[in-house]
Symmetry: C2
Subunit: 262 residues, 2 copies
Amino acid sequence: MPYPRSERKLGAGSEVRLIPVRLEKEIAPGDSIAGQLLAHFRQWRVRLQVGDILVIKHKIVSKAEGRIVDLNTIEPSAESLAWAERYKLDARVIELALRESRAVIRRKNGVLITETQHGFLCANSGIDVSNVDGGSHAVLLPEDPDRSAAKVRRELKKAIGLDIPVIITDSFGRPWREGLTDFAIGIAGMKPLQDDRGRRDPHRYKLKASVEAIADELASAAGLVCGKLNRTPACIVCGYRYQRGAGSVRDLLRPPATDLFR
Amino acid sequence: MPYPRSERKLGAGSEVRLIPVRLEKEIAPGDSIAGQLLAHFRQWRVRLQVGDILVIKHKIVSKAEGRIVDLNTIEPSAESLAWAERYKLDARVIELALRESRAVIRRKNGVLITETQHGFLCANSGIDVSNVDGGSHAVLLPEDPDRSAAKVRRELKKAIGLDIPVIITDSFGRPWREGLTDFAIGIAGMKPLQDDRGRRDPHRYKLKASVEAIADELASAAGLVCGKLNRTPACIVCGYRYQRGAGSVRDLLRPPATDLFR
């Protein structure tokens, strides 16, 4: 059952489609993410096309890379224990979050915002807790999500001959908005930012502050079809005209000097 | 030319489609946004369907509501002048941004982050500058974007008999990420947050921190097809299973007590 492709333009440029990719099989350490996706594509007769973008939730990437920690092996410090006790949290998760961080940004109302080794600012260093194999395990972020994205891109290219950009995502909170949305944490094969500064709007007004975080918008869009409650860890974005080129998630990280939060 | 509708499910739930809506005509004070959209739909033989969501960039809404200020009518204070001078900004815009704010949150490196009357935290109180009618004008945010969204929804319902949720958006920066993404600033006819707390993932692990800011994800997704450089101020989102019900953008605003930024 191939995905139907509509090439219809409607005056405004064509539509963008978000096609969920469901993986039945549980991902295990050592698995190839590209291999699992390709198996799915074969099974469903999905043919990736030039212009498609693949967005993948990090959790399966972390699992494939063995970034799983048995929480029973973690001995929390007295500090982690005290703080966890106070807010009824798992001290082992707090301990692990601190170990995975390079700085504590905020610690307030039981929320621990850290800067991860990668430079992401998020709750608990992005650690998820999951019942992998029945026991309580923590799933850490990939060590180098740009590298993880590049690996999937490379393996897909080798298998099907197409250069498909890959974005790896995680759900983060936002300091002043309720709820989580998905953000890009790793990128390969496309520019994460689109810089329209100096271009003119339909009134010939020169745009000033128009750098658009395309990779984060793609991550959020994919978040609409990728779920935590179903086995849909990836999606294909069709019809979005991205800018090719070397890109890194680092392009999206505000340097501390201009970061208005710190 | 009706939009083709594919109802194909692929194991994971169906795909989501983002269909750009291009409006050729410039929106003027007093225009009905719903009326303009309906004219476009008639022209292109677009038939909205049950389940569709309409996402609209605020700028046309602001214009329709007459939220336009001729910058020549603004006399900046000495403080606004000094600050604008220092960072080579337009003092009138700074002045207007301060007038539209209820608090200054940050003022750093030439960036002015305010809390707007609505409670949004954004640069320059969300003011855009545009060459409306050849002169320099500022476009303010709608006075009550929830009400603006409700009006479009009501008028659409009256005209076509369908209850289509409406989201109004603006592009905001994020404190620790580069680039802008679109956020919901007004909502009618759907819940902006999806609360999965207490539900279980495929491993039977009970989800803890899983409140998803659907309206912001929809806004970001729409941002991929709505442009500043083309006349595409709206988009139809098809295939996303939203939760009906009364919703307000206020649901997305973190109360100052739990806001980690302030």
